[in-house]
């Protein structure tokens, strides 16, 4: 399952121990640069840079990462096609010949920019998701003064997603064993049963969890234990100069058009 492997890589990649604040700041700043850029050059550069970082630095298998990227690419490509055909305001570049559709130059440019931005931003997020264990992000959120209750709920949701994924997998198998998915009608019924049963299980697990937490002196708030290191000046400087270089690239390529 893709969620499972994503989570696995986040905990096993070779830069999992790098400073979290650094990784988050790096991803967010690069996303912003991507969005600021008015030409597709820099977003595409970022896409390839991230590809390089993810595969050679974090050592995520190339095949897996391509599969991961194919999802935004499919959506981005569809957007690109639609924009090319429908978003032009200037003279058509050429006619396709069916349904009186035409390709517009400005539409094509805009579409390609959007595609490049999608890929660039998604690569940044991919970098973050694939290299950073989620619990570390929780701690960071805490430092950003996000209300504790939200983080606690998120923490437990994250943990129990996997418990329930496991649980529903077992239920699904047991339903399949008894031919629960043999016809469309059966499938509808089985899915409904699975969902309602999972809901009840969630409820009772929640109660059980509360008992176990109470047994360990829970008094209404989870106190986190790990401390976060801040980024040191040297790395911060490197990061900022990198982002500055990208911004410079954005400025220099601002007038670039595909056609």
């Amino acid at each position: 399952m893709i969620e499972n492997t994503l989570d696995n890589y986040a905990y096993t990649n070779s830069i999992k121990d790098a400073n979290v604040s650094f990784k988050v700041l790096f991803a967010i700043l690069t996303v912003i640069v991507c969005l600021v850029s008015t030409s597709p050059v820099i977003p595409l550069t970022i896409t390839f840079l991230m590809l390089f970082l993810i595969i050679f630095l974090a050592k995520i298998p190339f095949k897996f990462y391509l599969k991961f990227l194919s999802i935004p690419f499919i959506f981005g490509f569809m957007t690109f096609i639609f924009m090319t055909v429908f978003f032009g305001i200037s003279e058509p570049w050429f006619n396709i010949g069916i349904f009186n559709l035409a390709v517009y130059k400005d539409g094509l440019n805009l579409g390609f920019l959007v595609l490049a931005r999608i890929m660039g931003c998604f690569s940044c997020l991919g970098f973050l998701v694939l290299t950073t264990p989620i619990n570390e992000i929780f701690f960071l959120l805490e430092r950003f003064r996000i209300p504790k209750i939200i983080i606690e709920i998120a923490m437990m949701m994250y943990r129990y997603i996997f418990v329930f994924l496991d649980e529903s997998g077992k239920m699904y198998n047991s339903q399949q064993t008894r031919l629960g998915y043999s016809s469309l009608k059966n499938t509808y019924r089985s899915v409904a049963l699975l969902a309602s049963n999972l809901f009840i299980k969630t409820w009772s697990k929640g109660e059980q969890l509360y008992i176990t937490m109470e047994s360990r002196c829970y008094n209404g708030s989870i106190k986190t234990f790990e401390v976060q290191k801040s980024i040191d000046i040297e790395n911060l400087f490197l990061l900022l100069s990198f982002e500055f270089l990208l911004l410079l690239g954005v400025y220099l390529t601002r007038g670039f058009k595909v056609i």
Binding site: Y11, M155, R159, Y160, S215, F225
Partner: protein, 285 residues
């Protein structure tokens, strides 16, 4: 200390569920300090319900729970104290491990007690070391095997430094190696002076570790004593949907069917049986 102290004591404890069903009926249960006590009973006999009384999660409808000779106080402060003294390891580790990483989960209890970060860190290290899970600190629980989860759950309780550890079916669902690792940990803890209470229906293992056995059936204690004494009463054991340990059963068959001179009390463990068989051969020669 001249006299052995009852560290956990249930006196005439009766408990009704909120819907009125009786779960426990005048249960009397005593545990001496430093002992390993097994609570043996079939599914649904009330083992877990009784355990939840020991740290004040459930309050008896009538009767009394005493920890270290003092009645449990059901005030916030009293409950904090009881829960630090009596740690419960629940049957399903997934119910207990809620934090995104092992270290956070083990630190949960000590953080709730309000200890300093240094002390928490030390306790987390010590507990993980005791259960052999050092090096797993940063892992999320769903990347662990069943046995590993169980050991982390035990570490989470150990980190609170309880005097008494209560384990609900600690070996259920584990493979033989996982189960024997858990038992080894419990032995070591007991050597260090911890009192241990275990609920189980694994009759083969019980004689290996338990100093004292209680048998619970339909919410009532129907038998108590040393393993030898309890397993002598075969009718009661079978009446409670339990059975003799396999090795004792073999001896019973050898005596009754094959007329071999293996009289009661039947040996309960492989070690005891071996002695008995060797002695029999010596007598023959």
């Amino acid at each position: 200390m001249g006299e052995e102290m009852n560290v956990v004591e249930a006196i005439d404890v009766t408990y009704h569920y909120p819907d009125g069903t009786k779960a426990l009926e005048k249960v009397n249960f005593r545990v001496d300090e430093g002992k390993i006590v097994a609570l043996l009973g079939p599914n649904g006999a009330g083992k877990s319900t009784l355990f939840l009384h020991f740290n004040g999660i459930l309050r008896p409808s009538s009767g009394e729970i005493k920890i270290n000779g003092n009645s449990v106080e059901y005030s916030k402060k009293g409950l904090m104290k009881v829960r630090q003294t009596v740690g419960i390891v629940f049957q399903n580790p997934d119910d207990q491990l809620f934090a995104p990483t092992v270290v956070e989960d083990v630190a949960f209890g000590p953080m709730n007690i309000g200890l300093s970060k240094d002390e928490v860190e030390r306790r987390v290290r010590e507990s993980l070391e005791k259960v052999g899970m050092l090096g797993f600190e940063k892992k999320p629980p769903h990347h662990l095997s069943g046995g590993e989860k169980k050991r982390v759950a035990i570490a989470g309780i150990l980190a609170m430094k309880p005097k008494i550890m209560v384990l609900d079916e600690p070996t259920s669902g584990l493979d033989p190696k996982g189960a024997s690792q858990i038992l080894k940990i419990l032995y070591e803890l007991n050597e260090e002076g911890m009192t241990i209470i275990i609920s189980t229906h694994d009759v083969d293992m019980v004689p290996l570790y338990a100093n004292q056995i209680y048998i619970i059936s339909q919410g009532a204690i129907i038998k108590e004593g040393t393993p030898q004494k309890v397993f002598e009463d075969i009718e009661t054991i079978r009446g409670a949907n339990l059975r003799l340990p396999r090795i004792a059963h073999l001896m019973e068959i050898l005596q009754k069917e094959d007329k071999l001179p293996f009289e009661k009390p039947y040996p309960l463990t492989i070690g005891q049986a071996r002695k008995r068989v060797l002695k029999h051969f010596e007598d023959l020669q």
